[in-house]
C-alpha cells in the first residue's frame, strides 16, 4: 500500500491511498484502502490520515477516522492520537501504521510492524525518508 497526505497554501488537507491488497487475498476481497474512514481520511478541522497494514483490522476499528476523532473530541495532538490508535491495533494483533498531518503541519508516522516506508517534506528542507 502507498499513501500521501498534503496541506496546501490555503490550509486545505487531502489524502490519497492506493494498494494491491494482501498477498494471496481471496479474489474479490476489498480492503481498507477504498473504504473512507478506514484507510483514508481528511478533514481540515483535524488532520489527514492514510493507513497501511492488515486491512481487516483497519476496517473493524475505523482506524483513520479514529485518529481524527481523538483529536476532535479528546483534544489530542496528531502525534498522540495516531500513536494511541496504532498501539490499540497492536493490542488486537492488527499490524500496520499510519501517516498523518494536522492543519498546522505537525506530522505523525507511527507503526507497529518491523518497518514502514515513510517520509515527509516541508518548505526549505530536503525530503526526510525512513524505513525502520
Amino acid at each position: 500500500t502507498v499513501g500521501a497526505v498534503a496541506v496546501d497554501r490555503e490550509g486545505n488537507i487531502a489524502t490519497a491511498t492506493s494498494t494491491g491488497g494482501r498477498n494471496n487475498k481471496w479474489d474479490g476481497r476489498i480492503g481498507d484502502t477504498p473504504l473512507i474512514g478506514s484507510g483514508t481520511w481528511a478533514e481540515n478541522a483535524t488532520c489527514g490520515v492514510s493507513g497501511t497494514g492488515n486491512g481487516e483490522f483497519f476496517i473493524r476499528y475505523a482506524v483513520c477516522h479514529d485518529v481524527a476523532s481523538r483529536m476532535r473530541y479528546l483534544g489530542e495532538s496528531v502525534q498522540e492520537a495516531a500513536a494511541t490508535v496504532v498501539e490499540g491495533l497492536r493490542k488486537v494483533e492488527g499490524e500496520g501504521g499510519v501517516v498523518a498531518v494536522d492543519r498546522y503541519g505537525e506530522v505523525a508516522m507511527p507503526f507497529n510492524s518491523p518497518g514502514m516506508y515513510r517520509g515527509y517534506i516541508r518548505a526549505d528542507m530536503e525530503p526526510q525518508v525512513f524505513i525502520f
Binding site: N44, G96, P114
Partner: protein, 187 residues
C-alpha cells in the same frame, strides 16, 4: 505559506538485518522522488489534491511498492487494485476497487472526485469503475504490466496448492485448481 506533505510506501515485515543496504537505498530514493513530485505542486501553488495524486501516482508506477506496477497477487493469480482520495476542505471523497486494467487507480479516484458533472457515488467497483475510466480515456494496461518477479514469487510461496508451472508469470489458474480457503492466507 506553510505547506507540507507526508507519504508512506507500506509496512515492511522484513528485518533490518535481512534487508541489503543497497536495496534499502533504492526504496529510500523512490520515496524521495515521490515526496518531491507532490511537493513541487505545493510549492507552485497547486492544491493538496493535486499533490497527493502526484505522490501516489509515482509510487504506483514504481515496481518497489504494493500498488500499480509491483502489486501483490490474489490467490487466483490476479492483480486487483483499489484506491481512494479525500478532500478535507469539503468532505468529498472518491474510491474504486476490483480494478484489473487501470494503470493508475489513484487517477481514476481523482477523476471521479473532480469530474463534471459530478459522479453521484463515492465508491465504484469492478466493471463499472473500469467503464467509467474508459469513458474518461484513462490509461489501460494488460495484467502483465503489473508483474514483478518478487511479487510472483511471494504469491507462489504462499499457496497451499501452487500451479505445476511456477514460472508461468501471472497465468490465471483453471477453476479445477483447489484453493486455499484459509481466511488469513499466508502473505
Amino acid at each position: 505559506s506553510r505547506f507540507y506533505s507526508v507519504i508512506h510506501g507500506g509496512v515492511g515485515t522484513i528485518l533490518r538485518t535481512n534487508f541489503p543496504r543497497e536495496e534499502q537505498e533504492q526504496y529510500l530514493e523512490a520515496l524521495r522522488t515521490s515526496l518531491r513530485d507532490g511537493f513541487r505542486i505545493l510549492e507552485s501553488g497547486g492544491t493538496a489534491i493535486d499533490a497527493v495524486e502526484a505522490a501516489v501516482r509515482y509510487m504506483e508506477d514504481s515496481p518497489f511498492f504494493n500498488a500499480g506496477k509491483g502489486a501483490v497477487y490474489t490467490i487466483g493469480g490476479n492483480i486487483e487494485l483499489e484506491a481512494s482520495i479525500m478532500d478535507g476542505s469539503n468532505h468529498r471523497a472518491s474510491a474504486c476497487t476490483l480494478l484489473h486494467h487501470i494503470r493508475n487507480p489513484i487517477t481514476l479516484a481523482r477523476t471521479m472526485l473532480t469530474t463534471k458533472p459530478p459522479v453521484p457515488h463515492v465508491f465504484l467497483g469492478g466493471a463499472q469503475a473500469e467503464a467509467f475510466a474508459r469513458d474518461k480515456e484513462l490509461e489501460f494496461v494488460e495484467q502483465g504490466y503489473f508483474y514483478t518477479e518478487k511479487r510472483w514469487k511471494q504469491h507462489i510461496e504462499g499457496l497451499e496448492y501452487p500451479p505445476s508451472n511456477s514460472e508461468s508469470k501471472g497465468t490465471v489458474y483453471g477453476k479445477s485448481v483447489p484453493r486455499d480457503h484459509d481466511p488469513n492466507p499466508m502473505g
